[in-house]
Symmetry: C2
Subunit: 238 residues, 2 copies
DNA sequence: TTGCTCCTCACGTCACGTGAGGTGGC
DNA sequence: TTGCTCCTCACGTCACGTGAGGTGGC
């Protein structure tokens, strides 16, 4: 007169399938069968299942529980390790929540790293400038990026830059040259260029190869800005 | 001249397989191919991958991210839900840590529910009594159980009970009757029996049927104690 | 005879990791 | 010719959930 599998599950506050899974992985010995093939569980099985349940509820994996054996030795070491992991997990989740709070408060976009995103929160960059910043963020150290972002924030609305942002792809010769000439000497533009990470910073701060970084920046510009804009950049620097 | 899959992965700080997985689930459109069949990614892909990465790092599932679409609308609602889940998770983990602290501090066993385990921490019950308590814990409300455990703790070392615990299975007639007689009138034994949850408490506090609870208790006793001990219990109550 | 419980396969979940086997570019 | 990268299947992971198909007890 033992318990059936579902009775055992009910008593232990778990499910039929969980009991069978413990059999499958060898955590719980199979009990005697009745004449009809039904399993018949005893108190030792219940106690075993409850112990497994306690430990999984605490967060141990079935493999770890198996490693503990069914012995009575106190699993102090395993539990201390678990505790350290839990502490780390909690910290991580709290950092995530802090980040979420920033994002939610300022309706910040979700594609930039948190610190930069916070800084550029109420600056509305053009999609191109935003994408370029996202790419740049992958190439350069957080420090270098944020000093760039700071200038970007300060001067995003300078008329000559707005003009550049809105330059149509089919702008004529004269318009391009004129804009390039004005940009080349404009103090704010000069300041922005100065804030842009220089070669050395770019290459040292990046985990990628020099060639790759340089190519990536060129590629990003080529893809994000239109023909006229790129032409202006060339004239300005050339 | 686009990026290869592994270049994209490297730039995004993720893995080759992750990029391919995003293709598989439709989160990331496949790029153009070169003549040799190699994929060739652009800046839009990188930006997309980085957005997905940001959101998975925050804890969104790929399904949730897919539901957000690639639009620019701010995913405020989803993030608020996520934040609530995170808060709940953190609380749960903190409760687990508190439990772990109790277990670690007192070297408490890991098979009893936390409160009862704490109470019985430095009482060393016999394996039988411990198992019986574990089973009882599944049948009765925490309150009823802890008042029982309290008495158990107070009187576990009473000589007549120690004698009962150590009674060999082949104890003779006279020994059994004598022990039963003494237990029947012993004040501490009486107190323990009074503290044992009565029928009404047992049945009302349990999520199981009356019959099942009664049978379970009988079965536990029958399995845990030896023939002579059970005989003594019968004589004592009969 | 009809529900209800029990049994044993065996596939599905989630976000990828990890080879297996084959081809293109230097 | 030899490494290196790229490609596409396709199975494995973890702790079970969820049928699929069949049998025993009232």
């Amino acid at each position: 007169v033992g318990w059936s599998t579902s009775q055992l599950a009910e008593l232990a506050g778990t499910t039929l399938r969980t009991i069978r899974h413990y059999h499958d992985v060898g955590l719980l010995p199979e009990p005697e069968r009745r004449a009809n093939g039904y399993k018949s569980y005893g108190v030792t099985h219940l106690v075993r299942v409850l112990r497994i349940k306690r430990l999984t509820d605490l967060g141990l994996s079935l493999t770890q529980i198996a490693a503990l054996g069914d012995g009575d030795e106190h699993p102090g070491e395993a539990l201390r390790e678990l505790d350290a992991e839990l502490a780390a997990t909690i910290e991580r989740l709290q950092r995530v929540r802090a980040e979420l709070a920033v994002i939610l408060r300022q309706e910040a976009p979700t594609d930039l790293p948190p610190d930069v995103a916070a800084m550029l929160a109420n600056v509305d960059l053009t999609p191109q400038d935003r994408s370029f910043t996202v790419v740049l963020a992958q190439l350069v150290s957080p420090d270098a990026l944020s000093s760039y972002a700071e200038v970007l924030k300060a001067y995003a609305k300078v008329p000559v830059l707005v003009e550049f942002d809105e330059l149509p792809a089919d702008a004529d010769e004269e318009t391009r040259q004129d804009l390039a000439d004005r940009m080349r000497v404009h103090p704010h533009v000069l300041e922005m260029r100065a804030a842009f990470p220089d070669q050395a910073t770019l290459y040292s701060a990046s985990p990628h190869s020099e060639k790759f970084v340089a190519q990536t920046i060129v590629k990003a510009i080529a893809e994000l800005y239109n023909e006229a804009q790129i032409d202006v950049l060339v004239r300005m620097n050339g």
